[in-house]
């Protein structure tokens, strides 16, 4: 194969392993074909995508294994344990931190055949899906029956439910409907020893530490999520779209703080800085714009929108109508500029962090300033995309056309992470760790936190079979 790898090459699998796996799932679902190895070599870690255009891939899997049932996964995991073959679970391959890159000659466990809608309980407002169900397909199934999960990440069309669980994901409508950890009531997980863990769907329980939290953000290192039961919502009866122009980021953030304190719960709240507003809303230009979508039962929605309007107005917000919201709704999945820039040598990526309200504006200012100071920078911009009563998620996009791409990429990430940590922020709000962010993990969790995570990993997966080199063990190669 003429593609080059810069982290690890495919390994040689024990013949006994290959024979056993072929027996478990059938010959056609075990592949070592060149096209398959290349297709499962990389997720959407953008520096890797940048390099991929020249045939440089981070790693190649030793094989791609595509099971169709949980029983098959259990057998495969046991078999991998016996032969000490590492496994990288692969959902939609949309993760942006390299969490699905098959390092160290791993085989890829492809979960995309497990993509079925299983059931919907309208009385309890829950629905169950297999983990390989793509977000958009999950929504189409629910919408057809009059419901929505309310989980609408930008990766809706290319990420899976299992991926959402494993990365502790969040969607654009999260301020009302919550993040994935608020939505998942139950799940089924294949543990590293091949045993099955069933966490039954109940609204809450007090039976010791929450086991499901081990896998919400486990990134496939502690178990393989095979199905999940999530909360659902009837499709909204009323939707009200509003937007306001504010004199500064500080004022806009403070307005949203007051709105949430007043118990309004808009589904969407986003504050765009001047650069992003200029890009999204040419009619408004480079000003700070906040958009709000209130939705749900008509009476509550009307009150919600009224509270937002009043507090925005009281704080100098100038209404800019529904149009910016409509523009955002149209453009929100459009990631088209990145691949264009990359063809011209551009490095593009996004970094999402979280902070309390008291630090929210300062994190933004410091991150942007530090990232703009890196040589090769073209643009740094930001928006706040998820809100809590206590604080925010800040989402920064950066682009550069540097002479030394890796240097620029590394320095920009270092600058962003340093500014976040100095302002008491968390290094990740919802993209997770993958392999790229491992280098900052100890600064986030402290030595004790990392040690504890490693202890958990060692207890569950002493041979390090699952998703080697991600989240916990190893680090950058």
């Amino acid at each position: 194969m003429k593609v080059r790898t810069y982290m690890s090459r495919e390994g040689t699998l024990p013949p006994g392993f290959i024979k056993s796996v072929r027996r478990i799932i059938g010959d056609e679902h075990f592949s070592q074909q060149e096209g398959d190895l290349i297709s499962y070599s990389l997720d959407y870690w953008l520096y890797g995508v940048f390099l991929s255009q020249k045939g440089d891939l981070p790693a190649l899997p030793s094989a791609v294994i595509s099971p169709a049932s949980v029983a098959q996964i259990q057998e495969i995991v046991r078999c991998a344990g016996r032969y000490e073959v590492p496994i990288t679970p692969f959902g939609g391959g949309s993760g942006v931190l390299g969490g699905a890159i098959p390092l160290e000659g791993s085989v890829v466990l492809n979960l995309q055949r497990m993509n079925k809608f299983l059931n919907l309980d309208a009385l309890s407002l829950v629905a169950e899906f297999e983990a390989g169900t793509m977000g958009a397909n999950l929504e189409l199934e629910l919408n057809n029956r009059g419901y929505s999960a309310g989980s609408i990440p930008q990766s809706l069309y290319c990420s899976t439910l299992g991926g959402w669980v494993s990365t502790r994901a969040a969607g654009q409508f999260s301020t009302k409907y919550g993040k994935i950890e608020d939505m998942v009531l139950g799940m089924e997980v294949v543990l590293p020893d091949g045993n099955l863990l069933n966490i039954k769907p109940v609204p809450r329980r007090s039976v010791g530490p929450s086991l499901k939290d081990l896998f919400l953000g486990g990134e496939g290192t502690l178990g393989i999520v095979t199905r999940a039961t999530i909360s659902i919502h009837p499709l909204p009866g009323l939707t009200i779209r509003q937007s306001f122009i504010f004199p500064s980021i500080e004022v806009a953030v403070n307005v949203v703080r007051q709105i949430l304190r007043a118990e309004a719960r808009p589904a969407v709240v986003r504050i765009f800085d001047e650069v992003e507003s200029g890009r999204y809303f040419p009619g408004i230009g480079r000003k700070v714009v906040a958009i709000f979508i209130s939705e749900g039962e008509a009476e509550y929605t009307a009150i919600d929108a009224r509270v937002i309007r009043r507090i925005s107005g009281e704080n100098g917000g100038e209404s800019s109508g529904e149009e910016p919201v409509d523009i955002w709704l149209q453009k929100r999945f459009d990631i088209g500029l990145g691949p264009v820039l990359m063809q011209y040598g551009g490095i593009v990526d996004t970094i999402e962090v979280s902070a309390l309200f008291k630090d929210a504006a300062r994190v933004y200012r410091d991150m942007v300033a530090a990232m703009k100071a890196v040589e090769g920078v073209l643009e740094v911009s930001g928006h706040y995309s998820h809100f809590y009563r206590e604080g925010v998620c800040l989402y920064i996009t950066f682009a550069g056309i540097p002479k030394d791409p890796l240097r620029y990429y590394q320095d920009t990430w270092d600058a962003a992470m340093k500014a976040t940590l100095q302002n008491n922020g968390s290094i990740s709000h919802h993209h997770g760790i993958g392999f790229w962010r491992i280098q900052y993990l100890e600064q986030e969790l402290g030595a004790s936190g990392v040690k504890l995570l490693k202890s958990i990993k060692n207890a569950l997966d002493p041979e390090g079979i699952l998703n080697r080199g991600k989240l916990i063990d190893g680090g950058r190669q």
Partner: protein, 359 residues
């Protein structure tokens, strides 16, 4: 040259996109194989062009596994791009090099011998008028559909010339295997058949024929110089003008949108208007209209391997069955045949069964 580099940029862009269209791709969904997702197909095409691949046969086999249904193009974030064009180019190169899969070669041989994909057939040519009803290869073997079309046309009072069979074919099977010279000959033959009959417009049951005769013929410089319409357009307008009147029915109908009709011809509303005009109530599957899935029989998939076709068909049958409708209807003779397990009807049959009188 500038045009080539612009096109190369487009597919390179696709190869670095986040695969935001794969949720709609029927071959990807039915197999759960990332490699068949549009962005990965694009990456492999780029890699093949750049000489990064060793396994040419494996690559070409993949190129022949696309259904060519257009779901990726419909859901693409770029307005100026259709991945099928690049997959088709790869097929053309394979054809020129003579490295096409064996089952594909057999189809070409049949076509070369008989001038159509099915084998020996009689020529059909009857009726008069400057409107033609072209009996596509897929309609030719469907007696129920032809009987229904006959009834519908005669009740409409329109003067229609029926033609087809023999070696008259739009050439789609050759286009999809990459035989562009054969396709061009078929297109020119079609032009002669139309001109000889002095037709001003033609009606066709098969959405792929409509696509070929309009968009694709134009790309190779063949202009038929007639209006080409799909049968649902004709029936929709006849019902609207009350040239066709029908008995009303209260049953439920699920309409399966043929991929080419929905994605390329943007005709999702017209068949539904026809069905509801007959008094039926519609039941929509989860994947309908702009989210429809290929039946597995589209010309792209038909030449792929059997297992792939069966997986796509089985997925679509399950999706349709979930609606539990009284009647299943489509507007593509191939879809009808592929989905016969649920007693799929062509929409003309639905109309013809309920026509009560001439206008």
């Amino acid at each position: 040259m500038a045009e080539d580099s612009k096109e190369a940029e487009k597919i390179a862009r696709c190869a670095m996109c986040a695969d935001m269209c794969k949720y709609g791709c029927p071959t990807y969904l039915a197999t759960g194989r990332e490699t068949l997702s549009p962005q990965k197909m694009a990456r492999l095409i780029v890699y093949n062009e750049k000489g990064f691949l060793d396994d040419e046969k494996g690559f070409l086999d993949l190129m022949f596994q696309s259904a060519m249904c257009g779901a990726c193009s419909r859901h693409c974030i770029y307005d100026d791009y259709d991945l099928r064009k690049f997959i088709h180019e790869a097929r053309v190169k394979a054809f020129v090099k003579g490295v096409i899969p064996e089952d594909v070669r057999q189809r070409v041989d049949t076509f070369r011998k008989f001038g159509n994909p099915s084998g020996e057939r009689d020529i059909i040519d009857r009726g008069t008028g400057d409107t033609g009803y072209f009996i596509s290869c897929s309609s030719y073997k469907d007696e129920d559909l032809l009987k229904a079309a006959e009834k519908m046309l005669s009740k409409s009072g329109l003067a229609v010339r029926r033609f087809g069979g023999g070696d008259i074919c739009c050439g789609a099977p050759l286009y999809y295997v990459g035989d562009m010279e054969g396709f061009r000959q078929a297109a020119l033959r079609m032009k002669v058949e139309i001109e000889t009959r002095r037709l001003r417009s033609i009606v066709v049951d098969c959405p792929t024929c409509v696509k070929m005769m309009t968009e694709i013929y134009r790309e190779i410089g063949v202009e038929l110089g007639v209006e080409v319409m799909h049968t649902t357009q004709l029936m929709g307008s006849l019902l609207k003008q009350r040239r066709l009147r029908s008995r009303k029915e209260k049953k439920t109908v699920t309409f399966h949108d043929p991929c080419i009709l929905s994605y390329d011809l943007a005709m999702s509303d017209i068949p539904r208007q026809v069905i509801t005009a007959l008094g039926f109530s519609l039941r929509e599957p989860v994947y309908s209209g702009e989210h429809t899935h290929c039946c597995g029989g589209a010309y792209g998939a038909k030449i792929g391997d059997r297992r792939l076709k069966d997986a796509v068909t089985s997925m679509r049958l399950n999706e349709l069955r979930q609606t539990a409708a009284d009647i299943y209807v489509t507007a593509c003779p191939t879809c009808k045949s592929v989905l016969s397990e649920i007693n799929m009807k062509y929409i003309t049959e639905l109309v013809a069964e309920r026509i009560i009188a001439k206008r």
